[in-house]
């Protein structure tokens, strides 16, 4: 070995020794400097994995027959990866033509240089599949025409990317919109359910997002967790009945000139809400028009969020209480002199007339305020308000939709309660309740005294398993006997006065209501709330309909504007619910 070679080998040997010593030294240093070691370890892990949050698909909403009311469609977020952009002009021009975006804004956004802080820019969101197909077509044509030629001059859409995600879609648009609510974004930009079942069941519909660390190294590929979809809901709403009631309500508003209206249809035996039509309605696919549709303090769903003085329909509850307590009997006679004084306030009948001797059926048939005030005094304030509370007046019914208001029932002991309130409350003045409260309370009369909790969710589908909602009893404010007696009184009342609410071939029970709308100066507006509550068929009650028309113009009386609406609604319901006329039903059941 020559001297020169010897030195070379020695030098190499020394170099490797120094390197090895450094490596070993570094390794040893890490053993003692744990902070540094942890930092490096964390950095290494950061490079090895990236964090992903997987959002489950929002649960769907169906009507009781499985028709889709709320689902999800794929839409795209359109953006650019800045480092891959070759020709900002092509991108800006294409997006201007296809998506209608502002050319200058897009070009400015796309032209910014890629940096650690600017990697990706979102240009548009909620772009439909059709638009993406057009963009794809442009991309292909440009590729074919100009190849992958680089340079600022040749047209190029490199860098333009589309990220798919789901968007809430309501196939029925504004149908049952007040029941469903909608999915929007809160101030932080997070998805959030607003109103109706979308808000009430927001957490369940949204499901649980899962955050996972996924390895960037394909050798370390790990299984993506199976994130279950959010809970799907099957509602008690019948799409066809809902559509029919909305159509009926719209035509009624047009013919009566009423400011707004509400129709609630429920099954008194279960508390299932079959339809809840109200105004205004919103195309849920365009929820951003909310302010345009719901002006000022207009509630999203009047049926549960707007309490009003119901007027004479309330007499059903007053009479039910008095009959149940035994304060009066159906044949109790009351001599109507056209005026009664309670607590220093004089009460008159709706027409200020004198009706002479009347039994309880007459009192209901002619809707006599004086008589009902007397009935309430016979019952006494303590029992009257105890019954009203048992009917859930002044309390929320517990309906499973967001935004329910409890209304107001003044009771003895409240600073603003006066003795005269007992009389006025008996015929639905000085007390406020929502249509759903009134419907649920009066449904007790139609259901042998049992009051059911009104609800719209029939079943929940969680992880592929369907859990049905069992009907819940809210209470039994009156006995079955009282319910039968009152039902009979109300039915005969309608028949005797040949009410426009009657349905040919079917025996029904019901009550009209006309309530003057109070102003700060008293009942001076001349405007009314016209209502009607009715149910049938009496031998096997299948539906209860509550109607409220706000400020009707064609007539102020519930018997003239609301009662015929019930007749029309019931005529549709017997078809939808396959209810044969009473006579035929008896024959069929006899077989």
């Amino acid at each position: 070995m020559t001297q020169e070679r010897y030195w070379r080998y020695t030098l190499l040997g020394m170099l490797f020794t120094v390197l090895a010593t450094l490596i070993v030294g570094q390794m040893l240093r890490f053993q003692f400097d744990t902070e540094q070691a942890e930092k490096i370890k964390r950095r290494a892990e950061d490079y090895q994995h990236s964090m992903h949050t997987i959002y489950p698909a929002r649960g769907q909403i169906f009507d009781r027959w499985g028709h889709l009311l709320a689902g999800n469609t794929t839409v795209y977020e359109v953006g650019v990866e800045l480092q891959n952009v070759n020709n900002p002009h092509t991108i800006a021009l294409t997006l201007n033509v296809v998506l209608g975006l502002d050319y200058t804004k897009v070009r400015t956004a796309v032209e910014q240089p890629a940096s650690a802080d600017a990697v990706y820019v979102v240009l548009d969101d909620f772009v439909s599949q059709e638009k993406i197909d057009v963009l794809e077509q442009y991309k292909d044509e440009i590729k074919k025409g100009y190849g992958s030629g680089k340079g600022k001059e040749s047209p190029d859409l490199s860098g333009l990317v589309y990220v798919p995600h789901l968007r809430r879609t309501y196939p029925e648009k504004d149908l049952a919109s007040n029941v469903l609510g909608f999915l929007g974004r809160d101030q932080e930009g997070n998805l959030k359910g607003y109103y109706g079942v979308e808000a009430k069941y927001d957490d369940q519909l949204a499901g649980l997002p899962v955050t996972v660390w996924l390895p960037t190294d394909p050798n370390l590929v790990s299984e993506m967790p199976n994130v279950p979809d959010g809970t799907s809901l099957i509602l008690t709403i019948d799409r066809e009945i809902q559509a029919a009631m909305e159509s009926l309500l719209d035509s009624t508003l047009e013919s009566s000139g009423a400011e707004s209206g509400t129709i609630v249809v429920l099954d008194p035996k279960t508390g299932e809400i079959l339809a809840m039509a109200t105004t205004p309605r919103l195309d849920l696919n365009k929820y951003w028009r909310y302010d345009e549709v719901f002006k000022k303090d207009t509630p999203f769903n009047r049926a549960i969020s707007q309490a009003y003085e119901p007027g004479s329909v309330y007499k059903v509850l007053s009479m039910a209480s008095a009959l149940d307590k035994g304060a009066v009997k159906p044949d109790t006679t009351f001599l109507d002199t056209g005026i009664i004084e309670v607590g220093g306030v004089q009460i008159y009948n709706w027409n200020r007339g004198v009706w002479g001797p009347q039994d309880m059926q007459g009192c209901l048939q002619h809707s006599l305020n004086v008589c009902l005030s007397w009935v309430a005094t016979q019952l006494g304030a303590k029992d009257f308000y105890a019954y009203m509370q048992a009917f859930s007046i002044g309390h929320q019914t517990g309906v499973d939709m967001a935004g329910e208001t409890p209304g107001r029932l003044k009771v003895p002991g409240d600073t603003d309660w006066y003795e005269a309130d007992l009389a006025t409350n008996s015929f639905g003045q000085g007390v406020s309740a929502t249509p759903i409260q009134m419907a649920a309370a009066i449904a007790a009369v139609a259901n042998e005294g049992k009051m059911m909790v009104p609800h719209v969710v029939k079943a929940r589908i969680v992880n592929g398993v369907q859990y049905n909602t069992e009907p819940r009893i809210a209470g039994m404010p009156i006995t079955a006997e009282t319910a039968h007696t009152l039902q009979e009184l109300l039915s005969r009342s309608l028949e005797k006065e040949a009410s426009t609410s009657l349905v040919d071939g079917y025996r029904i029970a019901g009550k009209t209501g006309t309530a003057e709308i109070p102003t700060p100066f008293g009942y001076t507006s001349g405007q009314t709330n016209a209502s009607f509550v009715g149910w049938g068929p009496l031998d096997d009650t299948r539906f209860l309909v509550y109607i409220w028309l706000e400020k009707p113009q064609s007539s102020i009386w519930g018997s003239e504007v609301a009662a015929p609406v019930f007749s029309k609604a019931a005529s549709r319901l017997v078809v939808f619910l396959n209810i044969p006329p009473d006579k035929e039903r008896r024959v069929l059941y006899g077989q």
Binding site: W65, L68, T74, N219, R239, A243
Partner: protein
Amino acid sequence: MNTIQNLAQAYAQTPWRKQVQIIGLVLLCVLFTVLIASIYLNVSARAATYGREILLMQEEIQRLQLENADLKTRLGILLSSKEMETRALEMGFEPVEKGESVYVVVPGYVARQPVILASAPPAENAVVVTLPPRFTESLVDWFKERLMLPDRPAEVIQ
């Protein structure tokens, strides 16, 4: 002394033979290393390929889930109340009015039932079939248990 030297010389291998042996040993090591490296590379390459395929399949699953949700909603739109009503009217159907229906008794007829879109929850008192430990425990488990509980009565085999 000479005799010993002669003997050692007589049994000593020739230099070329030693060289061949060293070269052979080195080659053997190289071969072994190459073998291990190629196996490692092969396994790594396959793992990477499968990993990539899994990622692609996961992407495909996500894409199909989106498409599935999309199709369901499109179907919902096509079958929406207004669409169906329009189509029915176009086909000459008319809404049935009260009094137009004819009701007859059909033996065995079951009225339309509310929809069932998923399976019912399992019964709470569902019988859970469990295998006896002798079918699932390992020999080590069995041995451990025997050592820890030597007085355990013998399992009755039915």
